[in-house]
Amino acid sequence: MESTKTTFRDPITLVKTSFNALINHPIILFPFFVSVFIQLVVLEFLYFSARFPLVVFFGPIIRRLWGEGFLHYPLNIILLPKLFYYAQLFVYIFIGAFLTAVAALIIRAINNERKITFQEAVREAVPYYIHIFTASLIFLGTLKGFYAVYDIIFKRALLIRSKVGIFGFIKAVLVGGAPYYQFFIAILVTALFAFLIPVIVIERKKIFAALIENFKRLQRLFIIVFIAVFLPMLLYIPVLLLRNSVSSSEGITLPEIHVLIVVVGVFVTLFIDAIALTAVTTLYLADSEKT
């Protein structure tokens, strides 16, 4: 990996370096592949949740929350992305964030030209599990908070009756761009807590000290971090466009296409997360050396 003695003033160089690091050191991807595997297992369970024998467990839950219809084809497939979204939150809180921490430790070892295995990195991260778990809750809580604020603005925009003029324009922008605002919020919140997990496992700080350290560094490096997170996230736009185009053409598509889009999304997210984390961790290590 390129030495962190190089200071990264340019986020594009940072992202390019991170991408090269992933190619030269594929072990960085290992924790992300584990996360993807767990997600796909969960997705499979949810895919078969309307069928025997899993329906014995999932049936009463789905029936109560969404109704009997969603235990039958094809509505169960239409519901699947929503079910998977909730499942992904659980996976992220309990294991996904931890695997991100493991990846950060692997990046640090590579940066120090030290050999490390996945198992060693896991053992190193385990003592900080509770702090990583808390960090994931803080991250998701903040994300939900931002979404809730946007939701209030969105609902208010829906009440605007003007179709022309400044108010009409505001309505068109706020309502029409909903998926993209949510996408932007995700980038913003990811950038806001970019250093949190690396600080916890690399500096071995507890959650609150790590939060303070995260925001301290962010004060100096926010623009670079934001762009370093934003650039790989652009890879998700085709997935968003595909999802939106399938939703608007419900009458002509096979329901299974929703599952395919979810799977594509999982793999695209793997690469986004890997590039973004590598970039942020590399920046963090370079900044630590400098200071």
Binding site: F30, V41, F52, P53, L54
Partner: protein, 297 residues
């Protein structure tokens, strides 16, 4: 990592095969096959002249296979009727009737399925232009299966058919007969689930007759008799539309809602009804009149 990816792939594939095999002859698999057959049918149903016969046969065979491979599927009779629908789409009405008649042999004790098959037979005669034969089939549904949804819906259906054909007098007579029939059915089946449906159809009959006063009264009775109905929102909406637009009588709707709130204090609908009453009062004060023919497109 390559080893891990290999193991992960094998695990995912193994789980997929295992779960698929568990339910290979289950209802869910039947639903998939039937849905796909219906999807194919929906693409050709409007173009029977240009669709090859083989396409229709292939779709009918898909339904046939579902019936054969899933003998325990609870909706098997409906799949049979859907298969008949394929021949109707092909305009092979004799073959369609053959398929529908099979339901009587396969499900001799199930009145719901038999009523659906009989309605489907009636529809084949209708599409052939033999209204008398269709009417015979529909009247048989009413006499033999009066407590099924189809048996209940038929009297109103007659009125709708005559109205569509422009036979206004015949339609009005049919609606009057339907209203009498539903009134009797509601009275004879008090406390049973069918009472609700009969009262709904009674209201529909009066509205079809454009007897707005009786229509609103019937809707009001429905609301007061069935306060827990899932269709309560639609009932309130219908009362508003008829009272405000057709009758221009805000007091009538208000009286119904006030009776409801008096009869069912602390009902979850009370908050909404209070807002509706306030809205009606405002409309009355401002003397707003909504012309149904002036509705913007």
């Amino acid at each position: 990592m390559k080893k891990f990816i290999g193991i992960a792939f094998a695990t995912l594939l193994g789980l997929f095969i295992l779960f698929s095999l568990f339910d290979w002859r289950g209802n869910y698999r039947a639903e998939q096959i039937i849905w796909r057959a219906n999807k194919k049918l929906s693409k050709v149903i409007n173009t029977p002249e240009t669709t090859p016969d083989k396409t229709f046969e292939d779709i009918a065979n898909d339904f046939r296979k579902a019936i054969k491979d899933f003998p325990h599927y609870p909706q098997r009779a409906r799949v049979q009727i859907q298969m008949g629908g394929v021949y109707m789409a092909k305009k092979d009405f004799a073959k369609a009737r053959q398929v529908f008649e099979q339901v009587f042999k396969d499900y001799p004790t199930n009145d719901v399925f038999k009523s659906e098959a009989l309605v489907a037979i009636g529809k084949t005669y209708e599409q052939e232009g033999s209204w008398l034969k269709a009417e015979t089939a529909y009247r048989k549904v009413i006499s033999d299966y009066p407590l099924t949804e189809n048996g209940l819906a038929m009297p109103l259906y007659f009125g709708n058919v005559y109205k569509q054909r422009g036979a206004r007098e015949k339609a009005n007579n049919a609606y009057k007969d339907a209203a009498m029939y539903y009134g009797k059915m509601a009275e004879q089946n008090q406390g049973k689930p069918i009472e609700f449906r009969a009262m709904q159809l009674l209201a529909d009959s009066y509205l079809a007759l454009e007897d707005w006063n009786k229509g609103v009264e019937a809707l009001g009775n429905l609301l007061l008799t069935f306060p827990g109905s899932p269709a309560i929102g639609q009932t309130v909406q219908a009362i508003n539309i008829v009272a405000v637009i057709q009758l221009k009588d805000y007091d009538k709707a208000q009286a119904i809602y006030e009776s409801f709130m008096k009869k069912y204090p602390r009902h979850p609908l009370d908050k909404i009804l209070k807002k509706v009453i306030a809205g009606l009062k405002t409309l009355k004060e401002k003397n707003v009149v909504i012309n149904p023919k002036a509705t913007p497109k």
